[in-house]
Subunit: 496 residues, 2 copies
């Protein structure tokens, strides 16, 4: 894999100096075109052997190109805000928006390689990390991102010579690499595991580029050209991708459906409701104050038919708690900054820190509900969203976040009655719009979308709870009880 | 000041229950109207005596109103990301956008009171903090925010009874206040300094509301009504405020001006330039690696005539550094999320952490330059901006941020030549727009705005440097040298 990057590639100074001006101009041109189109972001990953010129090359790119459109990010020590959230959060918050370029040093690959090289974990964990990186990159590319991955290489002999030279140079010895790189063992392990990583993560949509780092002229020109060609190809490639064939989802052939199977007559009388509500609210308050909550966070997702009582249920949950303990995030149309990012970005930005509770009033499931039904995204987009959402929730779960998801279901007659009631009561008239009436006409299409959503995203780590919500009292108690059970189940896994 | 909040206000249960439904409806109505108008944010500050019902009242408001439109924030321990920036940064990042309500517990007042009560500082420092709070609130109000400040009060006797009751109540003893509140001394000091704070910060645009906290019915109804009346008044008050008379700025009566006094013939020949540039770049690289940099951050602001060479100067600064050390923030039109916040918010969000360097390519001075000249804001807005900007920069400076500001000046003839050149060269044509040509016609108005800006915002802590930029080489070296001198001056203040 690294063979052709150990053969002493080099370019003479004259050739280099003759080529650079045109390359620079073309890079600038591409960069401004990128900004103009504002159609996709560019993510450049910088990895490889210590001393192979990673820092110098990025510095040079910043000189060649317009540094105002490049964001260079390092990910060394995590801040305490980052430590309190899933590991990927720090990358999500640093993603460049459409039209700009982000250069990531010390990215996900550095982290997994460091861990494996220093024996913090074995191959199985490395392979998990590799698979996670692949899913992340594939998702970013499907969202339009251009990912360019560079591996700067040196043979062991070249590396030793290079580190020695750096050490002896008073102008540069401050940036000498960590001591352990000077041991051959580290090099061998780094290259061995590096090869494993590159082999598995070099994909058509985000291939690795291995660049021999010993000769600055060769290295700089090679990187500049790869960058330029990748940029030009992506800028020319205007048609939206992945609009191709989408395998159809099977339909129920016996007319039975999940929603149809719900017992919509379930209800609670006033007295039972009052008792059970207070009990469950006190239980929730107690659970959130439990010491074990410090190692978890809680995310509750509320979806449901219009007028199914999401707001009311959310208020009964909130009423159990001190307002300092939770945040409610209402999801409406994305803002301009959110539209310049991959779909899941606007949810990642609201992921709670450990110990905290976030309630999403509508959520990332909009992709496979309203966006699917209204055609706001292509079938390919919402089809892949199922997998992306499962990945997302798995990352939350791995970081200790308890994810609870509710679909509040009412029948058509109940909805009609509530719409009419809303139009009568002054302070409720804000809750009803033309659009709500229009959505009613699409009842069956929505029901189908809900069925597919539950089938494809109800998982052991983040199951859906279908809530029979014709009776508001029943629904509210069921929501609270489900949250409590999920928290207790999570706490029960702790060693006493 | 607190007299009428110690007389045992109370309301009977029947009156309370009769009044609440209408109050609730009106609050909801106001809240939705606030969201609909999306014209201003509401900031509710919660302060006062421990045990006076602060938490309970906020909880109740969340039950009465729609909690999805309320963001409750606590500011207890600072995260390390917050500790690395000026103290106000944590408040800026938590500001609610227009149309929403933020409830701030543990806000700036709590912080100053804690510090004074526990003897961490004396009255002089308290008064500084008070003045700072006043300036912040005035600015927020001028930007349209509605600020409602509640002081929950109890007499000493009432407090002691209340804390005892809480302690004995198994359902609530978890939220019992810190021990030191149970000592009379803390109460006395808290009330004494609290009075000083309230006296000085109760202003027409953001008055304090002192509410006796002993009776829950009285307290809840009082707070609910104040909130409702404040909201209704602000919602009805549509005309933009402060459009009144603006005192004219004096004009130079002898035709002399700052910009006119620059020696635009200053230049460097190629050889001197090459030498000096390398020297200053190496000096900057060294300074940013200096240990003393860990206690500072660096902010460089670039403003100037169109085509004055801002981009080129920024690139020469950047070229001195490892791209991981700096960020360049190009300021263009504000995004939707930025427009929903006070003017300075979009700059606060990019303030560097200690040890870091941020370059602003255009800046907060847009308010008193392009926005003034083009009439994008009212004269009152840009007139008050001078003071707001000085406050902002003082806060940066107090937190160890070195602020360097450049105006790159060229003459009209030079600008014309550069415009024409830009239209010739393919990769430079992005740099020139119709607007640039239009701005040229406003040369004199811009010159006047620049003169006023420098007169009013060139301060000892953040002086302007006017850069003679007809000769690019001269300008670039002067920029680098000025940054270096500013850093060295800041470092020199450290004890050896």
């Amino acid at each position: 894999m690294f063979e052709s990057a150990q053969i002493g590639h080099s370019i003479d100074k004259d050739t280099y100096e003759a080529e650079v001006p045109a390359l620079r101009e073309a890079l600038l041109e591409a960069q401004y075109e990128l900004k103009q189109q504002a159609r996709f972001p560019v993510i450049v990953l910088i990895n490889g052997i210590e001393g192979a010129g990673k820092g110098e090359t990025v510095k040079l790119l910043n000189e060649w190109m317009d540094p105002r459109l490049i964001e260079v990010r390092t990910f060394d020590q995590q801040t305490d805000e980052e430590l309190a959230r899933p590991p990927a959060w720090r990358y999500w918050r640093a993603l460049p928006p459409k039209g700009r370029m982000g250069v990531f040093f010390g990215n996900w690959y550095s982290q997994m390689l460091e861990g494996r090289v220093h024996g913090q974990f074995k191959d199985a964990v490395l392979d998990q990390a590799i698979a996670g990186a692949e899913r992340l990159e594939q998702m970013l590319c499907e969202e339009g991102a251009l990912i360019i991955k560079f591996w700067f290489h040196l043979s062991k002999k070249q590396m030793k010579a290079r580190l020695k030279a750096l050490r002896d140079d008073p102008l540069h010895n401050w940036r000498i690499s960590p001591l352990d790189w000077q041991q051959s063992q580290t090099y061998d392990r780094f290259v061995r595991f590096g090869e494993r990583v590159l082999r598995r993560t070099s994909r058509d949509y985000a291939p690795w580029h291995v660049v021999e780092g010993v000769d600055p002229y060769y290295r700089s020109l090679a990187v500049g050209r790869i960058l330029l060609e990748s940029l030009q190809a992506a800028l020319a490639n205007t048609p939206p991708r992945h609009q191709g064939n989408v395998a159809p989802l099977g339909r129920s052939i016996d007319q039975k459906s999940l929603l149809g199977a719900l017992d919509m007559t379930l209800s609670l009388d006033k007295k039972d409701y009052a008792e059970q509500l207070v009990t469950e609210q006190a239980r929730l308050a107690g659970l959130l104050r439990d010491k074990r909550m410090r190692r978890h966070a809680l995310v509750a997702v509320f979806e449901g038919n219009d007028a199914a009582g999401k707001g009311g249920a959310i208020r009964r949950v909130a009423a159990a708690l001190d307002p300092r303990q939770y945040r409610i995030v209402p999801i409406a149309a994305p803002t301009e900054e959110e539209r310049a990012q991959p779909y899941l970005w606007r949810f990642w930005r609201h992921i709670p820190a450990r110990g905290k509770f976030t309630i999403f009033d509508r959520s990332w499931y909009g992709r496979v509900l309203v966006e699917r039904v209204e055609g706001f995204c292509s079938p390919a987009d919402w089809m892949r969203a199922y997998g992306e959402i499962n990945d997302f929730e798995e990352q939350l779960s791995n970081a200790g976040v308890v994810v609870v998801k509710f679909w509040l279901a009412i029948d058509q007659q109940t909805q009609l009655e509530r719409f009419e009631e809303r139009e009568q009561i002054p302070f409720k008239r804000y809750k009803i719009t033309e659009e709500d009436w229009r959505n009613r006409d699409k009842w069956d299409v929505y029901a189908e979308a809900v069925g597919d959503m539950v089938d494809r995203t109800s998982t052991e780590i983040a199951p859906w709870t279908l809530v029979e919500a014709n009776d508001k009292r029943w629904a509210r108690v069921k929501v609270l009880r489900t949250i409590n059970q999920a928290l207790e189940a999570a706490f029960a896994k702790h060693k006493k």
